[in-house]
Symmetry: C2
């Protein structure tokens, strides 16, 4: 008998048919004698509808009140899921975030889970019930409802699985696993049977939309057996875990991100803390900095380049303008025609030829590199955006073709 935590995303519970399909899968596990905790997101477009409703009344509404409304989406879908299980003859109970003991910090609309008080969930599991928990939400010290921000429901599932020491944590989604590249671009892309936490983390950070980085970090911390699989087929997906059972693959996947812009700050004074000062001003505005490249010293100054999400470009420019006044650097160059392509693989560290193989593939495809950055388990290049898909195909063919 295992304890299984399973999460279903918005598209996996979008309508009656999908709800019953998911409920049937869970009922089958329960009939086998397993303990089952289900975490659900809000149905399909519910959240968008709520946001529209909110903005109609007050587009500057407090996050505290926004969370009250947004959390209702999961509250509704968890009860519908429970009702489907009731119809299938399963003992079941639904629990909101506060009922399920999901304790968070006080940051409305972007709360972090501090702990899961598992008493109620365990009590219901003891009664042999399937427990359906609302994802994406929790409660803070003041007894107020919080929501967890992007990737919230995945994080809820992993946090509950960790707290319950679950045997498995399954993330049911609308794709059937993690691929070596986006299968919509690369026809020969193939599903990975397994991937390490670190690789998955890099893949997620680099644009693979399957899992959110927060939940992977948490899964790694608790060494949780995580699996990404399709809610449509229920077939085995991709297992994310620490120890690879098969031989380390050189490269696990190729990712791309077309939501990127590169900025170059010219003539930054060469003094301790200059870069720190610059990046902390950006961090204070919650702008995610990626690929940072610093030029060699030119006299007393140096240039520093970095990428930001294209959607943060405007805000980044505002911050840099203010910084220019106090820090006194020179011109800021903007390149908003950027595609970011990366290879990720735990085997890379021991195989120095991997990066070269990647560059060779890009050279053969006639693609020019604007910047290169590497880590233990990934190599990232910045190229022209229109070359992105071609680059992914070329690299994927070289490693997996």
């Amino acid at each position: 008998m295992s304890l299984i935590v399973a999460k279903f995303g918005g598209s996996s519970v979008a309508n009656k048919e999908r709800v019953f399909h998911a409920a049937e899968m869970m009922a089958a596990e329960h009939r086998k004698g397993h303990d089952v905790v289900v975490v659900v997101s809000a149905q399909g477009d519910t959240t968008d509808d709520f946001i529209e409703k909110i903005n109609e009344i007050n587009d500057k509404a407090s996050n505290r009140e926004r969370d009250v409304i947004l959390s209702a989406g999961e509250q509704i879908s968890m009860a519908l899921f429970a009702m489907a299980l009731e119809k299938l003859g399963c003992p079941v109970i639904s629990l909101t975030g506060w009922q399920a003991g999901i304790k968070t910090d006080a940051v409305y609309s972007g709360a972090r889970i501090k702990r899961v008080d598992t008493d109620r969930i365990l009590c219901e599991l003891d009664k042999k019930k399937i427990v359906v928990v609302a994802g994406f939400q929790g409660i803070n010290n003041a007894d107020d409802i919080t929501t967890l921000g992007r990737g919230g429901s995945d994080t809820t599932a992993v946090a509950i699985a960790a707290a319950l020491k679950a045997d498995e944590c399954r993330i049911y989604t609308d794709v059937d696993g993690v691929y070596t590249a986006d299968p919509r671009i690369v026809k020969s892309a193939r599903k990975l049977e397994e991937i390490s936490y670190d690789e998955m983390l890099e893949m997620a950070a680099l644009g693979a939309q399957v899992l959110h980085t927060r939940c992977i970090i948490l899964a790694k911390k608790y060494n949780l057996n995580l699996e990404v699989l399709s809610s449509f087929t229920g077939a085995p997906g991709t297992k994310v875990k620490e120890v690879m059972t098969m031989e380390k693959m050189l490269v696990s996947g190729v990712t791309k991100d077309e939501n990127t812009a590169m900025l170059t700050v010219m003539g930054l004074e060469d003094m301790p803390g200059a870069a720190y000062k610059l990046f902390s001003m950006l961090a204070a505005e919650r702008i995610n900095i990626d690929v940072i490249v610093q030029s060699a010293l030119k006299g007393e100054v140096r240039d520093i380049s970095f990428t930001v999400p294209l959607t943060s470009l405007e805000k980044t420019m505002e911050v840099l303008k203010k910084a220019q006044d106090t820090m006194g650097f020179g011109e800021v160059l903007v390149d908003d025609n950027i595609g970011k392509v990366s290879i990720v693989g735990a085997g890379m560290a021991d195989n120095p030829g991997v990066a070269t193989k990647m560059f060779e593939a890009l050279y053969d495809a006639g693609i020019n590199l604007k910047s290169i950055s590497t880590s233990e388990i990934k190599v990232t290049v910045l190229i022209r955006r229109e070359d992105t898909k071609k680059a992914v195909e070329a690299i994927h063919n070289r490693f997996f073709g």
Copy 2:
């Protein structure tokens, strides 16, 4: 400085304009220095939409899970109301039933409020915030969400007002008070400035849709200053209270109820407990019995007539069929062509001529009476349904014309 509890029904918060209109009224009270607690229902058709959603998945879903979804309606509207107040520059916080300390029994979908733990509400009022509370919902001993059934939001408002010893409890609705008769039928109907709890109770029980009996009983118990008024105009409505400041009116109003059927059980054995047995079987199925008339003894047996809501007729017949087997009475006559018309007035008890005056009005209008029943403060007649409106007009003209 007063403490005001104000309740807004579904039509009073149905859309952006209505929400802001109601919020403006509350903001104005708050600016005057009053403490304000607002209780809101779900917006317009939200509840109907939820019920449709539920029935699509499982029309036999448990009431426990139904309440989880239904309560989301008030959760959404309370936060929207709070957001409107934020936009108007008012300090405000919204609280769900469980956050506001509304403790109920465990009867899902028809829970009774046991007590209100006012700590959180008082704490927020101390911070000079307007507190917006979700109506219609509470929490039971198991920390599960309950809903209060029909008239629930009114009951929430009255319970909170009682617990806080509020100076006023205002029920804002889509009519501007309690009338001497339904103004849609009787053009000359006029608004009552005030009415006693008992009269209001009879009026409500007899079909006046303005307030639910539960909340009137509660208001009477705590001697609360209750007022029914229009959320559209905000003009003074009808005050419901114990002590009448003006001379007792002979008759406060004329009510009608066209959702009625009359049954006559023939040949019920004349033994102790026969009627009790019969009515307790009906009560067990939650069938509301009204007007009961028992015939004189005919030999060893007697006939007994009573009315039930037309919508309960089918179920009543089922119960009576079963009862017939065990109790052995004779035929059951059904008359589903029934209109119920009543006059209510606290002054009636001291004025024996009131009932006569009513019968005279009906006689002059050529309306035949099927049954008569009286109490201290009301007289009810059963007539043919098609005569209902004519009867209301005739009686109203006689007393108020």
